[in-house]
């Protein structure tokens, strides 16, 4: 098992608080030397980092740094020209969307990507699609697995609805919901797949303080109670520093820093990227 040895000998877990340390396990995902080009533009330039089981790993950086592109590579929406992705001991170069979904990588989007014509319940039920096995005939006549699966998965989805406190909007078409609730439904849809790795692309963008607090609470609960590994892109530094175990900082597609919130906060390159540098 060359691969496992390679992964275990990776970078030491540089976690923060002691009690969180026990939770965090082996490397779940590693991106190696990922380069993504759009024509002549290098969106990501040879970036490598890893995500360990059970941690909250944030990816931060100024606008256009390649954060969303990185998530898109991880779940197979973009195929990087160079580099490979290790996930659960297997290498994917490139990762395909269907591989990612069947391997338990779920995500939310920066610009909400809900199914607008469907109700909240149906939207979250789509997250269970890979777990439904009923044949076409069973679905068409609503018998056997066609019926039992619908009820069984409905129960699971109702638990998520309870957890996210969106019972009242269960049957409302999501197109009619306010922004904050749509973000919550999208998180619900991702959770319905029972993901191993959850990619959250700016889950708190455009939210007020209360909504951000709610969302932070949900993220912490998902991480601690379900043990879901989380990769988080967020611009609110307060949130990022409080929630994350480790951070990756990207700037102009390159890796700027990698480490605990304390290390990153003190890193001169990061401060320069965010605050600017005086040119003499």
């Amino acid at each position: 098992m060359n691969t496992t040895a390679q992964m275990a000998s990776g970078q030491d877990p540089t976690t923060g608080a002691q009690e969180r340390k026990d939770r965090i396990g082996d490397v779940l995902l590693r991106v190696e030397n990922i380069t993504l080009r759009f024509g002549g533009v290098k969106a990501i330039n040879g970036v490598s980092f890893d995500i360990r089981k059970g941690e909250v790993r944030s990816i931060i950086g100024p606008n256009g740094a390649g954060k969303s592109s990185m998530l898109n590579c991880i779940n197979g929406f973009y195929q990087p020209q160079e580099g490979s992705i290790w996930y659960n001991g297997k290498t994917y170069s490139p990762m395909r969307p269907h591989d990612a979904a069947t391997n338990g990588i779920a995500r939310t989007f920066q610009n909400i990507a809900l199914f607008k014509g469907m109700s909240t319940l149906d939207n979250i039920m789509t997250g269970r699609i890979l777990k439904q096995k009923a044949s076409l005939i069973e679905q068409a006549f609503y018998f056997g697995r066609g019926k039992s699966e619908e009820i069984e998965h409905r129960e699971f989805v109702e638990d998520i609805i309870d957890f996210l406190e969106i019972q009242a909007i269960r049957k409302t078409p999501v197109g009619r919901l306010p922004y904050g609730l749509q973000k919550r439904v999208e998180l619900g849809r991702a959770l319905a797949a029972e993901p191993t790795l959850l990619l959250l692309d700016e889950p708190m963008a455009g939210m007020n303080l209360e909504e951000k607090e709610d969302m932070s609470r949900f993220i912490i609960d998902v991480n601690e109670h379900f043990g879901t590994t989380i990769a988080l892109i967020e611009h609110d530094m307060g949130v990022v520093m409080d929630l994350s175990d480790r951070l990756v900082v990207l700037d102009y597609g390159s890796l700027l820093a990698d480490g605990t919130p304390e290390e990153v906060r003190g890193n001169q390159a990061v401060i320069d990227a965010y605050l600017g540098v005086a040119h003499d």
Binding site: N75, G76, F77, P97, H98, A100, A101, T102, A106, R107, F109, A113, L114, F115, K116, G117, M118, D122, M125, T126, G127, I129, L130, Q132, A134, L136, Q139, A140, F141, Y142, G146, K147, E149, E150, I151, R154, E155, E158, R189, A193
Partner: protein, 359 residues
Amino acid sequence: MIYREAGQFKTSYAADQQMLPIPMDRWFVIAVVVFAAVVVPLIGSQYWLESILIPVLILSIAALGLNILTGYAGQLSLGTGGFMAAGAYMSYKVATNMPDFMPVWVPVLIGGLFAAGIGIVFGLPSLRIKGFYLAVATLAAQFFLIWLFQAVPWFVNDSLSGVPSTPPMAILGYKVTGAEAQPEPKYLFVLAFTIVLAIVARNMARSRIGRSWMAIRDMDIAAELIGIQPLWTKLSAFAISSFYCGVAGALWSFCYINSVEPTAFSINRSFQILFMVIIGGLGSVLGSFLGAAFIFLLPIFLNNVPAWFGLELATDIVTHIEFMVFGGAIIFFLIVEPHGLARLWQIAKEKLRLWPFPH
């Protein structure tokens, strides 16, 4: 409304997930079906059964089919007439060559399956192109299929006229197809197909496959990242939609016009069914029926109304009025209410529930 939803509690998810969760709705639909199956054949005249109810029901099946493709899966198609022709010609071929003991619904279903296969082939471009461009690709299906069935005499058993009459076939001694069949058994035959196909459409819409279609329609990228495979989902929508159209085409030939002819499935038919879906309501089973009834009955209504008021309008003027009303209705629905008559019905129900209070 004569009943209210308040106070009707469900205690299990099974109860909440029924096709019609409210008992009054359920009883109402059952009553309508029983009325259509028992009372209508008893009281309906030959004109009503043969010239109005049978074609409306058959067009409803075709509208259901197009609604699955366009309303649920979001793939625009102008090939409906072609897929109906595929069903009609194949079921004619099967009906004239099969042994006598085969039940009469077999050729109709085989016609549907053949149309489904054709639908898959012409659905392949949908994996690469969307919207108007896809509509043009399906338009090619329309013209190619009609040309094919005219050019290959094998489909009509080398009939000299090219427009053969459909053979009479019977269930329990009652003829249900062909010119000699009585209207009542014919009507019940068509009604049985309509009811089963409507229930199946409704079931698919609320199951995994329906949610996959709607997910691809609303946000294909997110759907793909959830694990829905666009290839399988789009082709299944094309196949099932074409199956419905094929069955409708077969019934149209066997139970309505009593012959197999290409002009019945021309591009005009495709547009007629597309208008039914738009006016009735995209993504609604009820809407398919409302749209079919509206489009088919409006010309009959316009022909008769002036006479009731003692107005003698020339036929050409009536036809022109018809075009204007259709044009106006389609523009109205596209701009004001893309979810069509079905949505208007829903809004009316919601308003009546609160009436006389504004909210």
